[in-house]
């Protein structure tokens, strides 16, 4: 649990009072454009960056005063890949799992075997994706209540990404809370039960996936033959808000049922002819752009 987290780097406010409730169990997706404060938030939660204000508490243990206690209760896979190239994969895994219970290392080795990592080889010769998977395996190995994963699938091929997500899902079903920062919005939609969206250091949305998808169904996107007039679109029945980009318009509806608006659209002879209509198929990227006017990544 995090309350009122603030962090400033020089004149830039990286986090401007973020609250976040973690758990109990499940995967929480953390989204936001570059520079929105995602990595700063993750680093503060793991005790790698000091917050200027606010507090973090994991499983009843406060980070400030008992950083070690918090680190014992969570695991972390950093987004930046920097490993000791001179070590073998096995030695690197051992290094990453130092301070964990004995079972963590054998679990880590199992995960590495499942991911096909050549632990006997020096990390220096590994690909970016292999290093990423090693960090992921090391974060998934210990028996902890909370896992914090910063872009664990970035740079992986689709097959490996699927494997990583499968491991993640299996772990979440056992009751672990996983905070997942990802740029792959499709996979976030797939595995996350809750989605938190950060923008300019502020949490602007924290809702369940079903609620996000429900909101997605309230958006109707229409491609017109020419640029439509906003006033005409706003006057359509059921429309609450309109955004126009060139010949494309996004209509935010009052309900998830678009039929009334579609009927009104069919009768609005003053509008240009609609060429294509999309409903209920918004990705998270689209959704956050429609609702908040910001890119999700």
């Amino acid at each position: 649990m995090a309350r009122g987290l603030r962090r400033r780097f020089g004149t830039k406010e990286a986090l401007a009072g973020v609250d976040l409730e973690l758990g109990p169990g499940g995967v929480i997706g953390l989204l936001g454009p570059n520079g929105s404060g995602k990595s700063t938030l993750l680093r503060i939660l793991t005790g790698l960056t000091r917050a200027d204000a606010g507090e973090v508490e994991i499983d009843g243990v406060k980070l400030e005063g008992d950083g070690l206690g918090v680190r014992q209760r969570l695991s972390y896979a950093p987004g930046e890949i920097a490993l000791y190239g001179e070590l073998s994969g096995a030695a690197m895994l051992e290094f990453l799992l130092r301070g964990r219970t004995a079972g963590a290392l054998s679990r880590g080795r199992e995960l590495c075997a499942r991911l096909g990592l050549p632990l006997e080889r020096r990390v220096r010769g590994w690909s970016h994706g292999m290093k990423r998977q090693l960090l992921f395996a090391a974060a998934m190995a210990p028996a902890v209540r909370v896992r914090i994963l910063d872009e664990p699938t970035e740079g992986l091929d689709p097959r490996k990404r699927g494997e990583v997500l499968a491991i993640l899902g299996e772990d979440a079903r056992l009751g672990t809370t996983i905070l997942l920062s990802s740029h792959h919005l499709g996979e976030t939609e797939r595995v996350c039960e809750r989605i938190v969206f950060l923008h300019q250091g502020r949490k602007i949305s924290d809702e369940s996936r079903s609620s996000v998808l429900e909101r997605a169904r309230r958006v109707l996107r229409v491609q017109f033959a020419s640029v439509p007039e906003a006033v005409l679109l706003e006057s359509l029945s059921g429309v609450q808000r309109v955004r126009i980009e060139g010949t494309r318009a996004s209509l935010e509806l009052g309900s998830a049922d678009p039929r009334v608006t579609l009927a009104a659209l069919g009768q609005a002879s003053a509008l240009p002819a609609p060429i294509a209509i999309e409903h209920g198929s918004l990705s998270l990227t689209d959704l956050f752009r429609e609702f908040y006017g910001v890119e999700a990544c």
């Binding site: 005790g47 980070l63 490993l83």
Partner: protein, 253 residues
């Protein structure tokens, strides 16, 4: 701790071998040096170095040993190793981005700090002791005899001197994420101190005065450590170490 020790093992071995080779070479040359001391002294240009030759003439083999093994060998090679071990200690983790994986593990900051500090200090000091303790064996080949106890005291003083270079460099490594910058700064400082040492009127302001031939001859003669110098060196080890620890603990909660 074993991992920390392993990571510096090869450099420590190279350091020991270098010290040992320098020592063997220097001691093998002692009989000719002693025979030709007068002629050699006439070739020495600086009064400070002539003073060193006077010490050797007055005290004989122990002073020569101090000059060659401690003042020349351990001060230069050991000083370099002290800076190398310490400048990379924390700064390199920051520079290459491995600080996160080093600190994210559930191991206390105090433990991480002192494991790194102590492993560096251990490999810095051990070769000094080992090479010094090999002196009686080598001296036997040139018909010289040296007692073990003064050698142990001399090695202790030399170690303390090297640690007084190691500890402030370690402190810099906790402050500044540029290991090469730290190394360069320490090199400039060492050159400045050596320049001071070689100038007659200001030689007493040089840091190297705390570990020169005069000090080791005194240790050899009195069979005790010089209290004042030892206290100064201890302070120069303890204070920067505590400051570095504070700084390191402050890096993260």
């Amino acid at each position: 701790m074993l991992g920390e020790l392993r990571s510096r093992l090869w450099l420590a071995i190279a350091y020991f071998v270098t010290l040992e080779l320098l020592l063997i070479g220097a001691l093998a040359y002692w009989p000719q040096f002693a025979e030709n001391l007068d002629k050699l002294r006439s070739l020495i240009p600086l009064p400070v170095l002539q003073e060193m030759a006077d010490e050797i003439e007055a005290s004989g083999f122990p002073a020569y040993l101090a000059g060659q093994h401690f003042f020349k060998g351990a001060n230069s090679i050991g000083g370099l190793v002290a800076v190398l071990f310490a400048m990379f200690a924390v700064a390199l983790e920051v520079q290459r981005g491995t600080l996160e994986i080093w600190l994210a593990r559930p191991v206390s900051r105090t433990r991480l700090f002192f494991e790194r500090w102590l492993s560096g200090a251990f490999w810095l000091v051990l070769p000094v002791f080992l090479s010094t303790l090999s002196v009686p064996l080598i001296a036997g080949y040139i018909d010289e005899r040296v007692d073990i106890w003064p050698l142990v005291l001399s090695a202790s003083h030399q170690s303390l001197f090297l640690l007084s270079i190691y500890a402030p460099t370690f402190l810099l490594s906790c402050w500044w994420a540029n290991p090469l910058g730290i190394g360069f700064a320490m090199l400039l400082l060492a050159l400045f101190q050596m320049s001071l040492y070689l100038i007659e009127n200001v030689t007493h302001y040089s840091y190297f005065r705390l570990a020169d031939v005069r000090v080791f001859v005194e240790i050899y003669d009195t069979e005790s450590l010089p209290v004042g110098d030892t206290l100064v060196l201890l302070a120069l080890v303890i204070v920067p170490t505590l400051l570095a620890w504070k700084r390191f603990a402050k890096l993260t909660p």
